[in-house]
Symmetry: none
Subunit: 225 residues, 2 copies
DNA sequence: GGGTGCCGTGAGGAAGTCGTGAAAAGCGCG
DNA sequence: CGCGCTTTTCACGACTTCCTCACGGCACCC
């Protein structure tokens, strides 16, 4: 759980950021002026700071200076000032990034990820899906069944990946065929069944009665975690 | 003296950046396409990369991927694309910053300083990887096998480095080829196999039955410590 | 009950991939 | 210019994977 300190004097902006950040799993601490920002920074030691420059009490640049005297925490500056002088000043004082308002929320979140990623290099992203006694590491492409590594062929992996990326969603045979072979039509309808059987044989405890790699008759397939 | 690799296909932009960067005391290496960019990156190991996304040969995002599989060097992306999708993609692939053209040169320089500032503190640590009776010093580029120093050619070393930087992770042949040669060259699929064979011959106790430099048929290769 | 789809499974040949030896093409250097 | 080292290409068995076909089972409908 990553703690992020958000400093902005506009309540609406604060709310919007709070909403989006908590939705992404961040733990959000808010402050509306420089004084409380520095206080809360000292108390919580957040992993990253999002800082608006236009604060009522202290100049935002001074806030950066104050934080940087005692910490290397990533600072992402948010500002309505578009002039390059402000940007240069903020960045040279130790800010890690500078985003001008109005901004795209997705971009801000991406920049936030980039900033935090640098702070904790060991905690790289790792997408792991687990169900029953199977563990699938989508990043390193490794599959463990009952603790033993399982070898999947390219097509088997491709198919499993598609299913795992859309848990509980039904994927039509047509979609799967397009993804696997690029040909939507005129293919042997048993093609998919062979690979589903392979996957079930390798991953399901009882391949005859699958509980996670499900068939939707007449429609397609579905992965149930 | 900080080395910076500047990649852009427009000669005028390249000139402008070269001028401003050398004036600030940087040592500038330039490249006009993805292939030579990756080549020069491997040769010079710059302290920071300025990368335009719109390259003639390879997609800029693939260049980021290739660099990131083997290095944590700061990457500052330069692009004419203003959509947030491109920004998010580039940043999540490992880029450190994203600047849209046209840009203010002073701001770019400030962002460059911010990016290099972060990169420097971690540069001192010594990374050594050991497995079986092999010891690899990633800093001094020395390899010891059963206590005896082993000589690796540039390509062999590059390949080993890529694998060792991503332990247990599967790296696709495509990724490796882009990193080694700059192109996902499909003309000669045996290229990689020769170098894997060389590495195994030099490092594996039993080259015929590799236990650390593993092949994932149809997918790529994996380093198992 | 028989017909009709659709699904699961086994088998086997075609096609592709891997590892290896060997040889041509570059490349740096004296 | 020749020499050694490296990179790159080619060729060939051994092996794996892909894909098609054929057959049996189950559910549903007429």
């Amino acid at each position: 759980m990553t703690e992020v300190l958000v400093v902005d004097d506009e309540p609406s902006m604060l709310r919007a950021l709070h909403l989006n950040l908590t939705a992404r799993g961040y733990q959000v601490i808010t402050a509306e002026d420089g004084t409380s920002a520095l206080n809360k920074f000292g108390l919580h030691e957040p992993a990253v700071v999002v800082l608006d420059l236009g604060l009522p009490d202290i100049d935002g640049l001074d806030v950066i200076r104050a934080i940087r005297t005692g910490s290397q925490v990533p600072i992402l500056v948010l500002s309505a000032r578009v002039g390059s002088n402000d940007k240069v000043a903020a960045l040279d004082l130790g800010a890690d990034d500078y985003v001008t308002k109005p901004f795209d929320m997705n971009e801000l979140l991406a920049r936030l990820r980039a900033a935090t990623r640098r702070g904790s290099p060991g905690a790289g992203r790792r997408k792991v899906v687990a169900f029953a006694d199977v563990t699938v590491d989508l990043d390193s492409k490794q599959v463990l069944h009952a603790g033993e590594p399982v070898h999947l062929t390219r097509t088997e992996w491709h198919l499993l990946e598609l299913l795992l990326h859309n848990p509980e969603k039904l994927i039509t045979s047509r979609q799967l065929l397009i993804a696997l072979r690029g040909q939507p039509d005129h293919t042997d309808p048993s093609y998919l069944r062979i690979y589903m059987a392979q996957l079930r044989k390798k991953l399901e405890p009882d391949p005859a009665r699958p509980k996670h790699l499900l068939t939707e008759p007449g429609m397609g397939y579905r992965f149930q975690p």
